[in-house]
Amino acid sequence: MSTVLPDQLGHFGRFGGRFMPEALIAPLDELTKAWQEAMADKEFTDEFERMLREYIGAPSLLYDATRLSDVAGARILLKREDLNHTGAHKIRNAIGQALLTKRMGKTRVIAETGAGQHGVATATACAYLDLECVVYMGEVDTERQALNVARMKLLGAEVISVKTGSRTLKDAINEALRDWVASVDKTHYILGTAAGSHPFPAMVRDFVRGIGDEAREQSLELLGKLPDAAVASVGGGSNAIGLFAAFIPDTDVKLYGIEPGGDGFETGRHAATITAGQVGVLHGARSFLLQDEDGQTMESHSISAGLDYPGVGPEHAWLAETGRASYRPITDAEAMEAFRLLSRTEGIIPAIESAHAVAGALDIAKELGPEATILINLSGRGDKDMDTAVSWFGLIDGEAAGRE
């Protein structure tokens, strides 16, 4: 199944496009051509699917979460992307783009990472496919996520700590783009989310859309029908677009993107780009972003490093504007409550990113009623978030009951 959008220049309505230095336009054209040819080449897609199956364990399970359903008051299905190799949906995109890198005859890969999940996925794909790998990571994040830095190094990647700007994810992207302008002959930039300049939003979507394609088939098998709603967290938006893509033509299936509400929308400390941002241009595309009156990018805030990004992929902006999907924020506190709820009712510790989707689904369940079936993309596992959970809940030693 193919989606009509974007147009040839990467526009989803008024969103998307290419706001990039001219130096990268010809390489982006080459990439677009290589990607389109690869997706039309059965040998390439077969190889990609074989790797998904044999290496990352796809299709991931669709799990009928009966105890969580009891609490939620509607039937909840979890798409278990947390069970993929490396623990999140990100590996699908990393493997797809790494395979494309080989096909283009390039030998070096660069990537940005915030929490480190995409960096680890890319380092893994590069080890698997024998590619040189350099990961840019904000200095603040290298300190917060030392374990993921160690994982990337063990996998053979070089990790470069970015000390410019706010020293977080957006600056890691800036630095990766600076590298790419100077190295594009031999280097492919594996962008980690369905954002950025054309063809990245559409290409990343195509590499992760297996999430929704599988879940749609699994739902039909399990229920004999489609779910009433599909719910996913949205930072840059790759796990959400991966889930939504298959369901966009199924207009009876409601689509919900859950944005990181941080300390609360009203505090200004959040990363709810669609809910609270304005239209602008960042990192190569027009979309919603958090910006000040002068169009300077504002810093975002979320307890979930993977959602902590002031922009969002252009297809989400388009889905929001057309009303096909709706977007709403969940606060750090609500997400952490859902994090604990899923752990205790199902024995599944989710990534805090995915916990946002669970929290959002609890509200949606109330709105849709007990007959509804709600599909949640459980995009990642929570091992990486244990330090955050320890301090949030006060889990170690005499820290009493924390926020019990």
Binding site: L9, G17, R18, F19, M20, P21, E22, A23, L24, I25, A26, P27, T164, G165, K170, D171, N174, L177, R178, V181, A182, S183, V184, D185, Q278, G280, V281, L282, H283, G284, Q291, E293, D294, G295, Q296, T297
Partner: protein, 273 residues
């Protein structure tokens, strides 16, 4: 070439220099660096030192085309609270100081946020000559092109060593003033060795357009300026001037004079223009 060339204000200044048998000098400094007033003094020092065209940088949070020197300078300007309106007032003060055309080099989002039409009108109102837009390609630039045409502002787009001949044609057709040829595949910043990518890029560009070609990225001294002036219409210098600006207007003026001397060497090369 006999075709009608969209020289605009910056192009006219460049052609005037070329008519004198020399390359033109385009000098860049960001607004607000090292301070608001210091930035204005630095730009005036470039004018006193002999630049033909001024480029004022609009500091932006995510400058993907800039190397460390300009990143740091624009971070300092932003940290001190510089606003878009302060860039406009800087333009106004510099434009009233001399007849040297004043361009602003800006990433796209601050202009989109200000309102493209409103910016074009306000910018023309304070005496600005045009914009250099490093992350806006003509393919996405319809709104800016219309606003610039309405307000008779220069539109300087970029060509790169990676640009196809087809893209060079499309890009130069959208330019007024000059076209900015990036000498290297990379970001702004001084470089030791001359680029071997720039001469063929200039040659390919001149094959399809009569608009002046300025070469930038990596130029830092009089010798490099002389070497580029031998084959390009204008030499663009940024990071080296930004480094000098840290030492004050006298240092900016001294470097500008050296660069201005550089573009005046090799008079024989100008005959080919």
């Amino acid at each position: 070439m006999s075709e009608l060339v969209a020289l605009g204000k910056a192009g006219a200044a460049i052609r005037k220099a070329n008519a004198d048998g020399r390359g033109a000098l385009v000098g860049y400094l960001p607004a607000g660096y090292p301070s608001y007033d210091g930035g204005i003094d630095g730009i005036k020092a470039m004018i006193d030192g002999g630049v033909d065209v001024i480029e004022i940088g609009l500091p932006y949070s995510d400058p993907v085309m800039d190397g460390p020197t300009i990143q740091r300078a624009t971070e300092i300007a932003r940290a001190a609270g510089l606003r878009t309106r302060d860039v406009l007032s800087t333009v106004e003060k510099v434009a009233s100081y001399s007849d040297v055309p004043v361009l602003v080099m800006t990433y796209w989002n601050p202009i989109e946020r200000y309102g493209v039409d409103r910016f074009a009108a306000d910018f023309a109102g304070v005496g600005g000559a045009g914009l250099i837009t490093p992350d806006l390609i003509p393919d996405e630039g319809a709104e800016w092109i219309a606003a610039a045409d309405k307000n008779e502002l220069d539109k300087v787009f970029l060509v790169s060593p990676s640009s196809t001949d087809e893209r060079i044609k499309l890009t130069t057709a959208a330019c007024r003033g000059f076209v900015y040829a990036t000498a290297v595949m990379g970001v702004t910043g001084a470089r030791e060795t001359p680029s071997d990518l720039a001469p063929p890029l200039v040659e390919r560009t001149k094959a399809v357009t009569g608009i002046p070609v300025g070469v930038g990225l990596g130029v830092s001294n009089g010798d490099q300026a002389a070497a580029i002036a031998a084959y390009a219409d204008a030499v663009i210098v940024g990071s080296a001037l930004v480094k000098a600006a840290a030492d004050g207007p006298a240092a900016v003026r001294a470097l500008t004079e050296e660069l201005a001397e550089g573009v005046r060497r090799e008079p024989s090369a100008a005959a080919g223009r």
